[in-house]
């Protein structure tokens, strides 16, 4: 126990040391600043936001950054209403939204949305039609797509989710999602649910895929980072941060920071694709 704590300490101390050396320039902008940034919206963004906040607040304790989830819909509405400073979306805000709230959009990462199944499931590839039929509830047994004779358990995201929006639009071609589907409120929970259900199927942000779930090729294309980056994998999206009107002051500095070398490195570390 003790050794682990010490190890963590050492690691953090080391990384702090390197950060301060290598990226001093990027964080310099926050020196002497004071104030609060409130962020809400897409859940996929949270790991990056948290890491950025940790670095900024670690350097300057006078800055307070709060990060809430809620999904892309929440992000747009809350920033539009002036309840938060930055609203994150995992999709491009609609024209109506942009107009109504005079949103400024900043796309700082690219992400793919991949179909995932339990690693115990043999299925590793689905066509667009198969995927649409499964999520519409028309195919209800794994044997119909070449798997075991077991009922398919559907998992979908809540309606405020940007991941759901992108998946629905680009993978399902705006087809129905069965009402029987279990509704999960985040990428992490989706992964948790599918990893625990041998006959479940769901979709998560590519950045969230790890050994607990198995990614499924879509129309024969693997949802790998490379494929998303090269534009081969079709179910992809940008990760946006939106502000109401032109960002200013601390908020502007925060968004600028996301586009610095250090910011983009966080993006890559958290499993997304850099925009540069």
């Amino acid at each position: 126990m003790k050794t682990r704590v010490t190890a963590v300490f050492a690691l953090v101390a080391l990384s702090l040391f390197f950060c301060s050396g290598a990226f001093a320039a990027a964080l310099d902008a926050f020196k002497g600043e004071k104030g609060e940034i409130r962020i809400a919206g897409g859940t996929a963004h949270i790991p990056v936001m948290k890491e950025a906040a940790a670095r900024i607040m670690g350097l300057n304790p006078d800055i307070q950054i709060s990060i809430a989830g809620g999904g892309s819909g929440v992000g747009v509405k809350q920033v539009g209403e002036g309840l938060v400073d930055i609203g994150n979306t995992g999709r491009t805000p609609t024209e109506d939204e942009v107009k109504q709230y005079s949103l400024q959009m900043f796309k700082w990462a690219i992400d793919g949305v991949a179909i995932v199944v339990n690693p115990a499931n043999k299925i590793r590839s689905l066509s667009q039609d198969q995927a649409a039929a499964i999520f519409a509830g028309k195919i209800t047994n794994w044997k119909e797509v070449g798997g075991d004779d077991k009922q398919i358990n559907l998992y979908t995201r809540d309606e405020a989710s940007g991941t759901r929006e992108v998946f629905w639009e680009k993978a399902l071609k705006k087809g129905d999602i069965a009402a029987t589907a279990n509704v999960i409120v985040s990428n992490g929970a989706m992964k948790g649910a599918v990893s625990q259900d041998p006959y479940g199927i769901g979709y998560v942000s590519v950045g969230h895929i790890d050994e607990t779930v198995a990614p499924v090729a879509f129309n024969g294309i693997e949802p790998s980072m490379e494929n998303v980056k090269e534009g081969k994998y079709p179910v992809a999206r940008g990760l946006f941060s939106n502000t109401k009107g032109e960002p200013a002051g601390l908020v502007k500095k925060f968004i600028d920071y996301l586009f610095t070398e250090e910011g983009q490195q966080i993006v890559v570390e958290k499993g997304f694709i850099s925009v540069q």
Binding site: E36, I46, P47, A53, P61, Q64, A68, G82, G188, A189
Partner: protein, 296 residues
């Protein structure tokens, strides 16, 4: 005849023991599961992450990957909510017990019963819409935050405090009520010098149970300003973190095993806080009955 009766009685016996074993077994399973899976994550770094505890406590540095902000958030919520709820709640309870006539009492009690029965999410929804309403009225000044959450939580526990104050005062014997009056005390002097001190233990145990309610509630705060990550709240108008919400958040958003482990840790800490509060209330209350036995 006797045979049937004996069988029936045996049936009742078996059934009741079965129910007892089932219920306690289930609860022990829940708590045991939590501890078996979570005790390993209990350590100083669970609370303070990588930040030296002293720096965190002195607010010199932010804590990341630790529960410290959530613990502080929950504590500030408790303190604030109880601060709002105690004066209003006790005053209402005193009014009901000492001033209101029977009709008024029945009338007001109906409202307090409804308030006590409202699902916490409805109170949360009220807090949220009130914040939006105020934000419309005074643009940019009010948004869901610690202040709004604590006020909404105060509304949630208000009926508890009203009820315990009222019950504690009404439970006093007539003789206790008349003593100070016969010595020339005014009604208010009688309340403040004699009646309240004598019913204090009942009121305090009620307040402690209200604190437990503030500590565990999730539905109200998730609508009124709690967030996934905010650091230690700096002002009443900050977003904040809280233990119960953290547990909910982790259960649905965890990205890896380590993060999940902190969820277990948070659950154990919250459970311990609530149990300690419960035991405190129990000790205080038991002393009441102890005293009552000796006086009778």
């Amino acid at each position: 005849m006797g045979e049937v009766r004996r069988l029936q009685e045996a049936g009742v016996l078996v059934f009741s023991w079965l129910c007892g074993v089932l219920l306690l077994g289930a609860v022990i399973a829940v708590i045991g599961y939590l501890f078996v899976h979570g005790w390993r994550s209990i350590s100083l770094s669970l609370i303070f992450g990588a930040t030296p505890p002293l720096d965190a406590l002195l607010m010199k540095r932010h804590v990341f990957n630790g529960l410290f902000p959530a613990v502080v958030g929950t504590l500030s919520l408790i303190v604030l909510s109880v601060c709002w709820a105690i004066p209003i709640g006790m005053a209402s309870g005193i009014y009901l017990a000492e001033y209101a006539g029977a009709g008024t009492k029945a009338f007001l009690n109906l409202f307090f019963d409804i308030l006590a029965g409202l699902p916490s999410i409805v109170v949360g929804l009220f807090g949220f819409s009130a914040a939006i309403f105020l934000n419309r009225l005074f643009p940019g000044s009010i948004h869901p935050c610690l202040l709004i959450s604590s006020i909404a939580l105060a509304f949630l526990v208000l009926p508890y405090i009203i009820r315990t104050t009222q019950m504690a005062l009404e439970g006093l014997p007539l003789s206790a009520r008349l003593t100070a009056l016969s010595l020339g005390a005014s009604k208010l002097q009688n309340i403040t010098h004699v009646l309240l001190p004598q019913s204090l233990s009942g009121i305090v145990s009620g307040v402690i149970l209200a604190i437990g309610r503030c500590a565990e509630d999730t539905a109200v705060i998730m609508l009124t300003g709690v967030v996934a990550s905010a650091g230690v709240p700096r002002s009443l108008f900050s977003h904040y973190e809280a233990l119960p919400f953290y547990i909910y958040y982790i259960s649905s958003q965890y990205t890896d095993r380590e993060e999940l482990a902190t969820g277990y840790g948070a659950a154990i800490i919250l459970l311990c806080i609530c149990m300690v509060l419960f035991l405190t209330a129990f000790v205080i209350k038991r002393q009441v009955s102890y005293h009552a036995l000796y006086r009778a």
